[in-house]
Symmetry: C2
Subunit: 104 residues, 2 copies
């Protein structure tokens, strides 16, 4: 579908993509984590897209198995939500993913 | 007002009151914190109250200066949001507040 295609294009063309909601503190945490790492993520605020927001969230759920926000992609790869991202960061794996993806 | 009166009554009559939203992970964190402490908080889900939800949230903002959720009261005292509650917990002050308030 067009929606699925646009998501795949977005996550493949941007080092870090965060599907987010403006009011959500978990989303704020991942946004500031990447900023601290010197990365400017592409942030898509699902609550600012009118009717398209819920549609996007539903399609993301279908594509990734994750129906919640924040929904985080690095180098085109789905890495998960806030907890997953922080876990990778603490293990040192996030930095590795970022450098590997930015080298491509 | 009636709304202000009902909030004051609610927080004075219940050891722990959490104004929450069902989808919010910060709210989930404080709810499970109190459960781990053996306390059964009174949880008011603002997103399940129809039009009254935003009204309550606004009045809480006026009364406490805090416009966000979760909004946490212990022993009738406003203690803050998720971050504030966790801070008090780590300092050991939350347990003290709880025992002091439950002794009354
Ligand atoms: N463990 C997940 C929790 C994700 C979660 O529950 N997100 C909430 C917001 S904090 C959510 O998406 N709720 C449903 C919604 O907003 O549509 C994470 O770390 O990201
Ligand atoms: N630092 C605060 C953050 C509170 C916050 O930003 N809460 C968000 C949800 S996570 C909120 O209330 N957003 C506006 C809304 O939902 O009406 C805390 O620890 O509780
Ligand atoms: S909405 Fe509160 S943490 Fe996401």
């Amino acid at each position: 579908s067009r929606l699925e295609g646009s998501i795949k294009k977005t996550v493949s063309e941007n080092l870090v993509v965060i599907y987010s909601k403006t009011w959500c503190s978990y989303a704020s945490e991942v946004k500031s984590l990447f900023k601290r790492l010197g990365v400017q993520p592409l942030v898509i605020e699902l609550d600012e897209l009118g009717a398209q927001g819920p549609q996007l969230q539903k399609m993301l759920g279908r594509l990734t198995g994750q129906h919640t926000v924040p929904n985080v992609f690095v180098g085109g790869r789905h890495i998960g939500g806030c907890t997953d991202t922080l876990k990778l960061y603490r293990k040192g794996e996030l930095a590795a993913l970022l450098s590997e993806a930015s080298a491509k």
